[in-house]
């Protein structure tokens, strides 16, 4: 029993170790760029990069632990082992938690190490202030260690919610979609329901209790302005116990459900064959041209996810409705912000998914051996997927933006038109960049999670580098295009060559 | 016509089929003038290469067991009594030869072989003379 557990730990660790290292590397590099290369700002920068990267990556790790055994056809092996499934699930979950924690720890330790090393030279110049001190949460935020723990807590919360919701889906993309949808649904419920009764959510009794246990809700704890009292155990916040209990519950849900699914064999077809053969009367004519055929396929593959993203944008805007009314904020700006927030995730998943069906094990032999011109196939897949994703994602903001202005009139302090366009432009460039990076990474790595890490890492680094450069250039917009088009073209070219020549880590 | 192909046998498929058809003929299940299934039909039925079937028919035709008529199909040949007897003798001689070879490799002498043959013949004579006494004894 112990030996089995040990070999399972070994297997999980072998699967996750590169992710840990990659994630730590991304965190560290992004931190270095955000901190502007100045040692004094590194701690604060890590807090920020951790907060923006880790919860996001945790969604992908959750997708992986929820569905990878099923999508890789290895669940059958696990089910047949003389070892309870819940133990395996526990090990998977633990290693995933360790992956997240270890990467943050490695990045933090590297930075602290640098400081210790450099501190002897810099002395008191070190700036330990936080980059973006907001409200104090759980009374720990004023300490750097505390805020790091908070970042980790937020990421773990996302991981658990997504894994518990998406477990046993047949592939990672489905698991991610289910997980993300349930997370968004919980957020929407928490805000929309009180709103429907015209309450300020914060005043609804118990709302804070619910919100704090919601996905990533730990960031929402604590009263503002509290700092860590000397004897903090006397003012121990009961909600911490509540949060831990809820998330332990989620972990149990994941562990309990994991693997409890019958793998559908391909046997039912034989039975149905006889019944259905009578219906074999009419076969619709072939698609009229190769191009239409390819387009049809790409639409079928890309549309569901894009539609999901559009729906999410609508939900988020509805959530923000009330704020708009109260604050008389700029509707357009708000819509653009929500649009960019959702589209980052959707573009990433769409980019991963654009080539996923074609790289399922055994499928490449099917299309490669046909007289399908590879250049056109790639072009249709890439451009088709991108267009569908971008257009579908932008329908909601266009409608809502227009409607918003119609409903609320021009806001009191609306952003200048020029600024709006510049924002839209950067969001579109961001979408194209993420989609390109994700599809190129997928063609190369052929597995969702490394793809996500690779794409997030490269987009992070490139966009940060561009962000550093743009303000120093005279014409912000044109220089933005000027700077971001080459990496995008490089990504497309890499993806095309990998697609055509069958380059990849896993064949 | 019921034929079967034994997979993994040490006998080649074309010989298996030729032997079976010849045996059907000897046993009287196939009569002179009967039409055999076409090459295509038999190939489909047995899931065997058409060329193999064709070779079987050609071999049988060369032995005079069947007759391939252009555009009409393959038919069991009208054999003269002497011709049929001759075909059987050829087959028997073949079997004898292989039996003798086997016996020699077991180390039997020619004399012992001849004794074996005459005792086998004698047994047959006994059976032919007293079938009734045999059954009465039981």
């Amino acid at each position: 029993m112990f030996a089995i557990a040990r070999s399972l730990v070994w297997k999980e660790w072998r699967e996750q170790r590169w992710k840990t290292i990659a994630l730590a590397g991304i965190l560290f590099l992004a931190t270095a760029i955000v901190g502007g290369g100045e040692l004094a700002h590194l701690r604060g920068a890590l807090q920020w990069t951790g907060l923006t990267t880790l919860p996001f990556v945790s969604l992908f790790i959750a997708m992986s632990i929820a569905a990878s055994e099923r999508s890789g056809n290895t669940l059958g092996v696990l089910q047949s082992l003389p070892f309870p499934l819940w133990c395996m699930a526990t090990i998977k979950l633990l290693i995933a938690v360790i992956t997240l924690a270890a990467s943050l720890f490695i990045a933090a330790a590297t930075i602290v190490g640098f400081e210790l090393f450099a501190g002897s030279f810099l002395g008191d110049q070190l700036d330990h202030r936080l980059l973006a001190p907001t409200s104090s949460i759980w009374g720990v935020q004023d300490s750097w260690t505390g805020s790091m723990l908070l970042v980790l807590g937020c990421a773990l919360s996302m991981l658990l919610w997504c894994a518990a919701a998406g477990v046993n889906q047949s592939d990672e993309i489905r698991a991610g979609a289910v997980g993300f949808l349930s997370i968004a649904g919980i957020w929407a419920l928490l805000i929309l329901v009180p709103m429907a009764f015209d309450y300020d959510p914060h005043l609804v009794p118990g709302w804070r209790w619910l919100a704090v246990a919601a996905p990533g809700g730990v960031l929402n704890g604590g009263a503002p302005g509290q700092s860590l009292p000397k004897n903090w155990w006397q003012t121990y916040d009961l909600r911490l116990t509540w949060v831990v209990t809820v998330h332990l519950g989620l972990a149990i849900v994941y562990v309990w459900r994991f693997g409890r699914v019958s793998i559908k064999g391909r046997s039912q077809g034989d039975v149905t064959a006889a019944n259905l053969s009578t219906k074999l009367d009419w076969l619709p004519p072939p698609r009229r041209s190769p191009l239409k055929s390819m387009l049809w396929k790409q639409c079928r593959e890309s549309f569901p996810l894009a539609a999901l993203g559009a729906g999410l944008i609508v939900i988020f805007v509805l959530i923000a409705f009330r704020e708009i009314r109260n604050l008389n904020a700029d509707v357009k700006l708000l819509v653009i912000q929500l649009w960019s927030f959702v589209s980052v995730f959707i573009c990433l998943v769409a980019g991963v998914g654009a080539f996923m069906e074609d790289y399922q094990p055994g499928v490449p032999a099917f299309w490669r051996s046909r007289p399908i011109p590879l250049r056109r196939y790639f072009t249709v897949k890439y451009l088709g997927g991108l267009t569908i994703t971008l257009v579908t994602l932008s329908i909601a903001p266009l409608v809502l933006g227009g409607m918003g202005t119609y409903l609320f009139g021009t806001a009191r302090d609306a952003a200048p038109v020029q600024q709006t366009y510049s924002m839209i432009l950067s969001v579109v460039l961001m979408q194209i960049g993420i989609y390109t990076a994700a599809s190129a990474s997928f063609v190369l790595s052929r597995r969702p999670l490394p793809t996500a890490l690779l794409a997030i890492g490269s987009v992070w680094l490139i966009s940060l580098a561009i962000g550093e450069l743009v303000p120093s250039l005279p014409k912000a917009e044109s220089s933005l295009i000027f700077l971001s088009v080459p990496p995008i073209l490089a990504g497309i070219s890499l993806a095309y060559h990998a697609f055509r020549n069958d380059w990849g880590w896993r064949k | 016509m019921l034929l079967r192909v034994e997979k993994g046998s040490a006998t080649p498929i074309s010989r298996q089929l030729a032997d079976q058809i010849a045996a059907l003929f000897t046993a009287g299940k196939l009569k002179a003038g009967d039409r055999l299934p076409s090459v295509r039909e038999l190939a489909r039925e047995l899931a065997v290469n058409q060329n193999t079937i064709l070779r079987v028919y050609e071999k049988l035709a060369s032995e005079g067991v069947v007759e391939m008529r252009q555009g009409q199909g393959t038919f069991v040949a009208e054999l003269s009594r002497a011709g049929r007897r001759r075909a059987h003798c050829d087959k028997l001689a073949d079997e004898f030869r292989s039996l003798v070879r086997q016996a020699l490799s077991l180390g039997l002498s020619k004399r012992e072989l001849q004794e074996l043959l005459s005792s086998a013949l004698a047994e047959l004579d006994d059976e032919a003379v007293s079938p009734l006494t045999e059954s009465e004894r039981v």
Partner: protein
């Protein structure tokens, strides 16, 4: 013109040489079975025939075309069923047929429907819900409906039960040999191959060790049981496998009639055992050489 001409093709992956000077040709209208153990390089060679892999050296012509130069033209004229082929699981049977059709210049939609009916494939079922046998049959429909001149099948019997294998052989005889197509297919089940193949080739350690008609092969390769001390009389290069058995040794030899004649000329009688194809295959791919254990008699120079 041969349907397939392979000449001295080599291919290495990193340091391991998978194909080492493979040469053979397949005549039009013949059914050619390509045999080898798992990992012998069958799939590698088949992928080269379709231009899915590049060769390191040698020349290769399929239907008179070089797959690396004109892959699309070639694939338009060839039907291919990959080993354990997986197709887009989300598509329905009718959808994948309609999807694939426009890529082929000579797609026959009525023929596709005819095959779909004959194979009893449910049109409105998603591919991921098809059984293994149905999956292979759908692959066959998609490989045959454009009336290819050459059909390449990579281990189609893999994962089929005996009934389905027989049915598959029947389909092959009826639909492909009946239509005069050249068929090139790989397998590791020899007794399934024997009834349908016109020619078999055995690939071992990256080389073709034998190419012959199955019945020629049977007539040529036999097992001879002789006294062990006589074994050195048989030329070494004709011995595929040697199994000592007490004072005797069972030698599996090629050119058996010649060897029997030679032994007879020396006055040695040997017991001849007919072998089935599995035995012959085994002798070729895992044969052991004869190691004399007893002192051999001095032979008079011939």
């Amino acid at each position: 013109m041969s349907a397939i001409e392979v000449h001295a093709v080599t291919k290495s992956f990193r340091k391991s040489r998978v194909l080492d000077g493979v040469s053979f040709r397949v005549e039009p209208g013949k059914t050619f079975a390509f045999l080898g153990r798992n990992g012998a390089g069958k799939t590698t060679l088949i992928k080269m025939l379709l231009g899915l892999l590049k060769r390191d050296d040698g020349s290769l012509k399929v239907l008179g075309l070089d797959p690396e130069v004109a892959p699309y033209e070639l694939r338009d004229r060839v039907g291919y069923l990959a080993e354990d082929q997986t197709m887009y699981g989300w598509m329905r049977v009718d959808e994948i047929v309609r999807f694939i059709a426009p890529f082929y210049s000579r797609w026959d939609h009525d023929l596709a429907l005819k095959y779909l009916r004959e194979f009893e494939l449910p049109l409105a079922t998603k591919i991921k819900h098809l059984s293994k046998g149905q999956n292979v049959r759908l692959g066959l429909v998609l490989a045959l409906a454009h009336r290819p001149e050459l059909v390449i099948l990579d281990d189609p019997a893999l994962g089929l039960d005996p009934i389905m294998r027989k049915q598959f052989n029947r389909d092959l005889v009826t639909h492909l040999q009946g239509a005069g197509a050249t068929v090139f297919y790989s397998s590791h089940l020899l007794y399934e191959v024997e009834p349908v193949a016109d020619e078999v080739a055995i690939l071992h350690r990256g080389r073709i060790v034998r190419q012959a008609h199955p019945e020629t092969l049977r007539a040529d390769v036999k097992q001879l049981v002789i006294e062990a001390r006589m074994a050195p009389l048989v030329p070494r290069d004709l011995i595929l496998d040697a199994r000592p058995d007490g004072a005797d040794v069972a030698l599996t030899v090629t050119s058996a009639p010649r060897v029997i004649g030679m032994l007879a000329a020396e006055g040695i009688t040997s017991r001849v055992v007919d072998l089935n194809l599995d035995d012959i295959f085994e002798a070729y791919v895992s044969g052991r050489q004869f190691e004399p254990t007893t002192p051999t008699p001095e032979l008079a120079p011939v």
